[in-house]
């Protein structure tokens, strides 16, 4: 099976990745870096407000998703990645959510035998749960 090894001195190996392209990408990386730093500070600052758990979770998750998307999209080049990879990842994310959601849904829907220590039923109004 003959395989095309490619010339060892070819600079334009990756489609659209000539030196000028790289410079543009580097600018993006720096911008994303700054954004990530700001968002890190934001997420820590917001946590100082001790919001109620549901709101705190929502906000923290939202910020994390934005940060994660920046890393995935730009550092990991997903914004310009081939469809095949994106399809595999989409499938994975779907199953990820299944794994996250179904066990807890199954428990919320059934009777959850409370631990011996608990005097009250499982879902008391506690500040942090």
């Amino acid at each position: 099976m003959s395989s095309d090894h490619g010339a060892t001195s070819d600079h334009a190996d990756h489609a659209g990745h000539d030196p000028a392209d790289i410079d543009r990408h580097v600018k993006v990386y720096i911008t994303v870096f700054v954004a990530l730093m700001i968002l890190t500070v934001v997420t820590v600052a917001i946590s100082r407000f001790h919001l109620s758990v549901p709101i705190a979770v929502t906000v923290a998750l939202f910020v994390a998703i934005v940060k994660g998307s920046l890393v995935a999209g730009y550092f990991m080049h997903l914004v310009s990645e081939k469809k095949l990879i994106l399809a595999v990842l989409a499938l994975t994310v779907a199953f990820f959510f299944v794994l996250l959601a179904l066990p807890v849904l199954t428990h919320e829907n059934g009777f959850w035998i409370p631990n011996v220590e608990q005097a009250a039923p499982a879902h008391t109004e506690e500040p942090h749960k």
Partner: protein, 588 residues
């Protein structure tokens, strides 16, 4: 593949050029990166473990047939800790049961079906020179070996091997002896092996297929390995995480799966508590349900190849079969809690899981029906592979149909954890998958060795095994419907309601022991034919798929010239063609 410094890359070189120096014995036969060697290593390892796992069951079957009676001849071999006076202790029964399941599933069927057949056949069938990542391939095999050695070693630790079922439910598994820790470590090796193998198979199938070999021209076997690999890749990691958490519970005193206030032998446990034993079940079954499709899909693939070849007809409904396979793979991730109907879930979630479970039976039925219809009007050749492949169909049919009452919440209530369940899943795996694997061994043996296995011995092996499989497992439906629980070390002899069905245990046991005898012609045949089997050329079965273009056995690199696919995989009996088969790789 790395090149030594200074090699001139400007000229591509042809495949048949001898490119590398001769490898020593160890690099060629032991630490090989050649997919064929690795495939055979996997296959032989898998077969040895299948035999060992079957051996464990043969011992158990004495206790089940004659509870409390000393095991004749070999009873003394197991020592007083396990069989004082030759009588089986309950702990030993549990040890045998847990390890039988673990070994058959993870060390027997998967290594043979996926590691063995997948590795050997897949690159050949897609016209590739090897897997995409040969070194990772070798690593995945040796990871399996490490896992297997760990599992075998666990028999020798104080307290013996794991004895909390192959399902290792918490909290029993958390408080169990050292053997369970070894089980968990062993599983981590096995899971790593499967994960590495899966990503290799997927990359190879996507990237290294021959020119002209589009996805819809894949042999069905390739599709089955492809979907299987996705299942392994995405379903195994949660079990790995769960294994780590159970290890933490056992070794670091955490309480992931340990509820508060647990009392063991009169002592209240001092761990933090607050854990969730059902969490283990969720994580385990998240893997273990797709795992059962990992067990069956390769067999579907093998049976499909053999049926097309021995009916001299294309497969009926290839497209429907492929779509069903993909749909089945996807659905397999959202049915798992049908194994947990008795854990106290509410009606909404029970309804969800039984609905998805009913839906997933549809693609199975499509595939089975298509295979059955593929027989219609064929010029059937009843050689040994075809006998196993054809018998697979009704056997898997029984297994599949008997799963339906288990998948429905209400009917599962009286059947859960009874012998009915054992009968159901053994029908799909034993005269189901294992028949598919036997068929595959007889079918591809000539490609791997250049010789045929003996047909007479094969037919004896087939007939005996088919009858015995049914003798062993059919009565278990009756026993289960009578309400006898599984995993009872005395087969329920202490219960009044079980008395009416106890005699069936004797029947099953004799079926199992006789089935053991019928494997002897197979084992003999397998080794004898390596040196004395009828020699064959590249394509003794007159098949159409690309693996038959390579010599038998294929050399390193597989093909003299890079194959190309010109048509679909099952162009048999094409009107107007010179032969009754038109190979996929032959230019017209």
């Amino acid at each position: 593949m790395s090149h030594p410094t200074g090699v001139d890359h400007s000229k591509p070189h042809a495949a048949h050029e001898v490119h590398h120096e001769e490898l020593g014995f160890w690099r060629k036969y032991v630490f090989s990166t050649d997919h064929k060697v690795i495939g055979i290593q996997y296959a032989v390892t898998g077969m040895l473990f299948l035999l060992f796992g079957f051996g464990l069951m043969m011992i158990m079957r004495w206790q089940l047939a004659y509870p409390g009676v000393p095991l004749p001849l070999i009873g003394g071999l197991f020592g007083d800790a396990r069989m004082p006076g030759g009588t089986m202790l309950p702990e030993f029964y549990n040890e045998l049961g847990a390890m039988h399941g673990t070994i058959m599933v993870f060390l027997g069927v998967v290594p043979l079906a996926v590691g063995g057949f997948g590795n050997f056949v897949l690159p050949l069938q897609i016209g590739a020179p090897d897997m995409a990542f040969p070194k990772i391939n070798m690593l995945s095999y040796w990871s399996l070996v490490l896992g297997g050695l760990t599992m075998l070693g666990s028999f020798f630790v104080p307290g013996g091997a794991a004895q909390s079922g192959w399902t290792s439910y918490a909290p029993l598994s958390v408080i169990a002896g050292t053997g369970q820790t070894w089980w968990l470590v062993g599983m981590i090796f096995l899971i790593t092996s499967s994960l590495l193998g899966a990503l290799n198979f997927l990359t190879t199938t996507i990237q290294l297929r021959a020119k002209g070999l589009t996805f819809m021209r894949f042999p069905f076997f390739v599709w089955s390995q492809f979907v299987t690999s996705f299942l392994l890749l995405l379903a195994f990691p949660p079990l790995e995480a769960a294994g780590v958490m159970q290890l933490m519970d056992r070794v670091a005193g955490t309480s992931f799966f340990m509820p508060s206030g647990l009392v063991v032998s009169g002592q209240v446990l001092t761990n933090a508590g607050g854990g969730n034993a059902v969490l283990w079940q969720h994580l385990f079954w998240f893997l273990a349900h797709p795992e059962v499709y990992v067990l069956i899909l390769p067999a579907f693939g093998i049976v499909a190849e053999i049926i097309a070849n021995n009916t001299r007809k294309p497969l009926w409904g290839y497209r429907a079969m492929v779509y069903s396979l993909v749909f089945l793979g996807f659905m397999s991730f959202i049915v798992w809690a049908h194994h947990m109907f008795m854990t106290g879930m509410g009606t909404a979630m029970a309804a969800f899981f039984q609905t998805t479970t009913m839906i997933i039976s549809i693609p199975s039925v499509v595939i089975l029906t298509s295979l059955l219809l593929s027989l219609w009007g064929g010029s059937i050749r009843f050689n040994t592979p075809m006998l196993f492949a054809t018998a697979f169909l009704p056997m898997f049919g029984i297994g599949g149909l008997t799963g339906l009452p288990l998948g429905l919440n209400i009917s599962d209530i009286p059947l859960h954890d009874t012998y009915y369940v054992i009968a159901h899943f053994h029908y799909v795996v034993a005269p189901g998958t294992i028949f598919g694997l036997m068929a595959g061994i007889y079918y591809w043996y000539p490609k791997a060795t250049g010789r045929r296995m003996n047909e007479t011995l094969g037919k004896i092996h087939f007939a005996g095994t088919l009858v015995c499989m049914n003798v062993v497992f059919m009565p278990m439906f009756i026993v289960g419907l009578a309400g006898v629980s599984r995993r009872l070390f005395d087969a329920g002899s202490g219960y009044d309601f079980a008395q009416g069905t106890m005699h069936w245990n004797v029947v099953s046991s004799w079926g199992a022991w006789i089935m053991g005898l019928f494997q002897i012609p197979f084992i003999f045949n397998f080794f004898y034919s390596i040196w004395n089997g009828e020699k064959v050329g590249a394509n003794p079965w007159e098949a159409t798929t690309i693996e038959w273009a390579a010599p038998s056995p294929p050399p390193h690199g597989n093909f003299a010239t890079e194959p190309q696919a010109y048509r679909g995989p099952y162009e048999y009996s094409v009107p107007g063609a010179a032969k009754d088969f038109t190979p996929q790789h032959e230019a017209s």
